[in-house]
Structure formats: C-alpha cells, structure tokens
C-alpha cells in the first residue's frame, strides 16, 4: 500500500516515504435533533458532511531501509506541501490497493523535528473537496 499526494492533475506528485500506522477517513452526516414537545427528540436526517482524513507520520532526513521513496529528503517534503497550501488549490489523495481517491483541501499541516534524529514529524489534516459546476440551459 502506498499513499500518493498530487496537485493539478499530477503536475507534481509525492509518494509518502513512510506510511502511517493507521489512516481512517471520517465521514459524518449533518443531522439535526429536533426537540418536540410531545415526542421528545426526533432526528431529522441532513446531508453528508465533507469527509476528513488525518495523516500522521514523518519525512526521513536520514537513510532508512524501510523508506518507500527517496526522491526527496525530510524538509523538502515540507517545502512542497507548504507551497501547495499557498497555491489555494485542491490536492488529490490516492491510497493504492484501496478505493480511496479523493480531491482534498489542506486544512492544517503541523510539522517539526522530534527526538533528535533530524526526521520531520508531521500531521497533515485533509478535507474532501467537491468540485461544483453550475448546470445551465437556455430557456
């Protein structure tokens, strides 16, 4: 299993060098509880919320045997993701051997060194991005 992040139709692609221990997609519903006077609470079913996913891992600064991709080194990954944020564009998350393939926005990117190894530990929070198109027709 590999995790790929890309921007603008694969204009730039990164493969995460170290796959996180776990990755879970949060998919909520925007339901509402309606408090009635006779029936008590009733649930009104809303619409699906945007899916979110959080990736926690590290970008190795050092050579490890288990590294899946050696194209970039630790802080270079950080630079790429920071540059993507500034572009105000959605990115794409693809996890191979799973059906997960979704356009995302970067909600937050937390990074920094840890325990003196020089590796850059990070938490990347992504949210689903829906492309909106307005249907038009002549009347």
């Amino acid at each position: 299993m590999d995790i790929y992040l890309s921007i603008n139709n694969r204009e730039q692609v990164i493969r995460l060098p170290v796959v996180p221990k776990e990755i879970k997609i949060q998919s909520d519903m925007d339901n509402t509880t309606f408090n009635t006077i006779t029936l008590g609470d009733i649930k009104l079913i809303g619409l699906p919320a945007l899916k979110t996913v959080s990736i926690q891992s590290f970008f190795p600064q050092q050579e490890y045997s288990f590294t899946r991709d050696k194209t970039y080194k630790g802080w270079e990954y950080v630079e790429i993701i920071v540059a993507w944020k500034a572009r105000r564009e959605p990115i794409r998350l693809i996890i191979t051997e799973t059906p997960i393939n979704m356009a995302c926005t970067i909600e937050s990117f937390e990074y920094g060194p840890q325990d003196g190894t020089g590796d850059v530990y990070y938490t990347l929070s992504l949210s689903e991005f829906k492309f909106v198109q307005l249907e038009q027709r002549s009347v």
Partner: protein, 321 residues
C-alpha cells in the same frame, strides 16, 4: 429536495450547489412573499460565479414551483457568501402608487383594472359582493387591502390575497384550511407536522377585546351590537365606528361583523415544526397541543421557512379564529 434556479439573459442556471440557507417568509398583512438566500463565493479559480444580479428571475422548486420572483437586494461582505433578497411580483404593487377614482364599481372590477395597468397576471379573483365608491392615491397593494377590508366589513367574509406561480389570487379565507405534513425520510410516510411541535408559545389577552360596538352616522348612533356574556365576565370594552353617508344602510351588518371580529379573547401563538412548502400566511391549520392548551383552528399570521443543509423547518405565528 429543493432546487433554486436563476434566469437571466434567457439562460437558466441551477444555483442549488452553491446555495447555503434559503428562508422564505410571508405575512398576512403583506401582499407577496420574500425569499432570501446566500450563495457561496470565493475568489479561487474553483468556485464558479453564479450569474445572479439585481433583477434576476429566481425560482424555487421542490416537486412543484414554490416561489417565483426577482432579486431586489444584493449584499456582499468580503469573501463571505453573497446574500440575496428577492420578492415575488407583488413587489411592484407594494412599491408603486396609483391614482384611481372608482364610481360605484364592483370590487373585483376595481382590482382587475389596477392589476391590468401594472401587468400583474391574475390567477383568480372571487366576487367580493361590494361596490367601491372612492378616490384613492396610494400604493396599489394598500388600495387592494382597503377594498378587501370594505368587503369584510360589509359581508363578514374575509379575503386573502397572494401570489402563486407569478399570478395574483384573491380568495375567501375560510377556503384555505390546509393539512401540513412532512416525511422523516424520503421513502417514509407523511406525518402531520402538528405531531412534532417545538417551542410552542401561547399568549391570551383581552387587551384588544371589544365587546360592545356602536356605529354612528350623521352624528348619532345608528346601530349597536353587544356581547352580554363577555361584558359580564370581563367588563365593558366599547368601540365606536363612524360611517360615511353611503355606508349607513350597512350599519347593522358592520356593527355585528365588528363584534364578531373583536368580541373574543385574543390569542397569539407560535410554534416551530418541520417544514411543508404549502404553508403560507393566511392559511388555516388545525392544531391540538396539550401542553400549552392550543386547540382548534388557527390562522397563520406569518410564517418563515428555513431550508438549510437538506433540512426544512418553519416558524409559524398563529392567531385563533
């Protein structure tokens, strides 16, 4: 699902994917409905710009068309969503003034004359059974209201005016009893909204009660109507109505109709319930709510529908009839 469309330059655009909250409001004292909505806006290159502008035609649909009107106000605040306020075509009748001299013209004919001049399509105008003999110089909607008030005073029948699918209807109020229902889920059964009332509030007062009506004409009392039961229970609350010469023949009718209207404990209630598109001000709902003691037929004085995130709820201001 509700769908919102705009039409400008012969292009119809489905706005729904960009719409945040839709509120739709009507009030019994106002001709016409208001529809407000906001559209997502961003200056990135992925958020489409909706072709909505002042004067654009806006249509709200569910299964049927619910609202048709024009954008009257647009508000932009930085990168926040853009707010639009729309009114149906009664807007023109509310804002335009006219001068009319009606010499013994039938009520419905007088109204038709004005609507034709302002090119407002007519759905149905019921026979009002009165003759208008008056000079007007005011907003068209006020003139229509005055004519309907005269009809109510003389015949005791209340009329409601409203726009539906771009056409004006004037109909008897008692014909407008509705059953409002909702579905908990798409394939579920229709449930009466009255079973799911939230925040019921009920206010009763004799502040506006009048249990004795005196009608005067030519400086003397020419008709009187009293409700002795109410007078005994709550004390004498008297109203005087002065008539023009031409109305004197109607004096007794007018006194009795006024007493019917004012000789009661006034009750103002409000409830919040799941939404039903057919609910508009002026309709009548049957409500039984044991906690506050609401029971019977209630006139909807005002209603605000809120449609947001796939949920539809409404706030109803009610008056006992």
């Amino acid at each position: 699902m509700h769908e919102l469309y705009s039409v400008s330059n012969s292009i119809q655009t489905r706005l729904t994917p960009l719409v945040g909250t839709i509120t739709r409001r009507s009030n019994i004292d106002e001709l016409g409905e208001q529809l407000d909505f906001d559209l997502a806006f961003n200056d990135d290159k992925y958020t489409p710009v909706a072709p909505v502008d002042i004067g654009s035609l806006i249509v709200l649909q569910n299964r049927d068309e619910i609202f048709r009107g024009i954008v009257v106000t647009e508000t932009k605040n930085g990168r926040e969503s853009i707010q639009y306020n729309c009114f149906d075509y009664a807007f023109y009748l509310n804002k335009s003034k006219g001068i009319y001299q009606f010499n013994k013209v039938k009520g419905e004919v007088a109204i038709t004359t004005m609507l034709n001049e302002f090119s407002v399509p007519i759905g149905n105008i019921e026979l009002l059974g009165i003759v208008v003999d008056k000079i007007y110089q005011e907003e068209i909607s006020s003139i229509i209201k005055d004519i309907l008030d005269q009809a109510e005073k003389q015949t005791g029948i209340k009329y409601r005016m409203e726009m539906r699918t771009g056409k004006l209807f004037i109909e008897k109020q008692q014909n407008q009893i509705i059953k409002a229902s909702f579905k908990l889920y798409e394939t579920g059964p229709e449930v009466d909204v009255v079973t799911a009332i939230r925040n019921p509030s009920r206010k009763r007062s004799i502040e506006n009660m009048r249990n004795s009506i005196k009608v005067t004409g030519n400086d003397k009392v020419i008709a009187e109507a009293r409700n002795e039961t109410l007078i005994k229970q709550y004390g004498l609350l008297q109203e005087i109505s002065q008539l023009d010469d031409k109305d004197i023949a109607q004096a007794k009718n007018i006194a009795q109709n006024m007493l019917k209207d004012l000789g009661k404990i006034f009750e103002e209630s409000s409830i919040e319930v799941p939404g039903d598109d057919q609910v508009r001000a002026g309709r009548i709902l049957e409500i039984t709510e044991s906690v506050t003691g609401m029971s019977g037929q209630y006139l909807i004085k005002d209603v605000t529908h809120t449609i947001s995130g796939g949920l539809h709820t409404m706030y109803l201001g009610l008056e006992v009839i």
